[in-house]
């Protein structure tokens, strides 16, 4: 199932970003999955947890934000949800429609534990 390759891409991004914050641990990854992105959130959660098992990121939690499917008719401006994937405007029956939300497959954030100021952070003597 392709949720596994998507989870692999997510893990690679976590490691890439975590390298920019040496000495801290990644705590939570936030992603946005659209209703019609073709990705099952629970399958993705399962695959991600399998990949994290027995690694340094095993405690990382996953926050999946699901986006509803919204299409907009480019003829009359009607906003509607897809039912059974039939992209026709319910108001004017045209096929000239555009998906404005629902096909997202995006990173949103990575939360890391508080990191120590750099030893060269003399420009911020008050500290954070």
């Amino acid at each position: 199932m392709h949720e596994l390759s998507i989870a692999t891409a997510m893990l690679e991004k976590v490691r890439e970003v975590a390298r920019q914050y040496p000495g801290v641990s990644a705590a939570k990854l936030g992603v946005r999955i659209g209703e019609v992105a073709g990705v099952d959130p629970e399958a993705l959660r399962f695959c991600f947890s399998v990949l994290l098992r027995d690694t340094e990121l095993e405690a990382l939690t996953l926050d999946i934000q699901q986006c509803p499917c919204v299409y907009r008719c480019l003829e009359c401006g009607e906003a509607f949800s897809l039912h059974d994937f039939r992209p026709l405007c319910p108001a004017c029956r045209t096929a000239d429609v555009q998906c404005v939300s629902g096909d997202e497959l995006e990173f949103v954030y990575l939360e890391v534990d508080d990191y120590a100021p750099s030893t060269a952070a003399t420009e911020n003597p008050a500290g954070e």
Binding site: F85, P87, L105, E111
Partner: protein, 224 residues
């Protein structure tokens, strides 16, 4: 706790590589087509008949993806054109990185047509851009007229639907008009060709579609 904003697509890396491939194809005038269909839909046989119909000087190459074996590559090599097998080892779709690696030292300048046969799967390949000019969905009449509704993503993204194995129509309860209606529900105006690689019915129309598509690419390249 510090929250690092990450505003980018999860498949961004695939899209980046697909973008590089698309640009390379554009620069060298290569028409790249991505054939997607269930296992047994007839993708490989369709490519065999396609290659068989090309003059030997045609600058065409084929990449064929499967989880295991070189079976399809061996079949397709019989027609004298360059063919490479991509064995994914378990991944249920091809991605742009696999295509980029498989292209290897092939020179884009020596090609005009690249045919990519994706792993047999109507679901996952739809999500992975390979840099192609068009996705072609291949579905046999034995698979039933409900498949466009059940697997909408690929039918929505495809430029062409090829209905294969039309020689089986007397033996299977396939309702062609319903299949076409279902395909057009999901993708209004989707172009549909029906053919049989056994009898040859519909193959000339498929070859004509290819010629028109290649010519259109050349017109765009000349204008750009």
């Amino acid at each position: 706790m510090h929250r690092v904003p990450l505003q980018q697509k999860i498949l961004q890396e695939n899209e980046r590589i697909a973008g590089e491939l698309r640009e390379a194809f554009r620069q060298h005038g290569v028409l790249c087509l991505n054939f997607i269909g269930s296992p047994g839909a007839g993708k490989t046989t369709l490519l065999e008949r396609t290659l068989e119909g090309f003059p030997s000087a045609t600058r065409v190459a084929v990449l064929t993806g499967d989880i295991q074996t070189e079976i399809d590559a061996r079949r397709l090599r019989r027609f004298g054109f360059p063919v490479r097998q991509i064995a994914t080892g378990g991944t249920c779709h091809l991605d742009a990185r696999m295509v980029q690696q498989a292209l290897g030292e092939w020179k884009m300048a020596e090609l005009e047509l690249l045919l990519i046969e994706n792993v047999g799967n109507l679901i996952c390949p739809a999500a992975y851009d390979l840099g192609e000019a068009a996705k072609i969905v291949v579905m046999s009449v034995a698979e039933g007229e409900d498949k466009p509704l059940k697997y909408p993503s690929i039918f929505f993204k495809a430029e062409l639907l090829i209905l294969t194995k039309s020689d089986l129509l007397p033996h299977v309860p396939f309702e062609g008009e319903i299949a076409r209606d279902n395909a057009h529900c999901v993708h209004p105006g989707l172009e549909i060709l029906q053919l049989s690689c056994i009898t040859g019915a519909g193959l000339p129309e498929w070859q004509m579609w290819l010629e028109h598509r290649r010519a259109a690419l050349n017109v765009r390249a000349a204008a750009g």
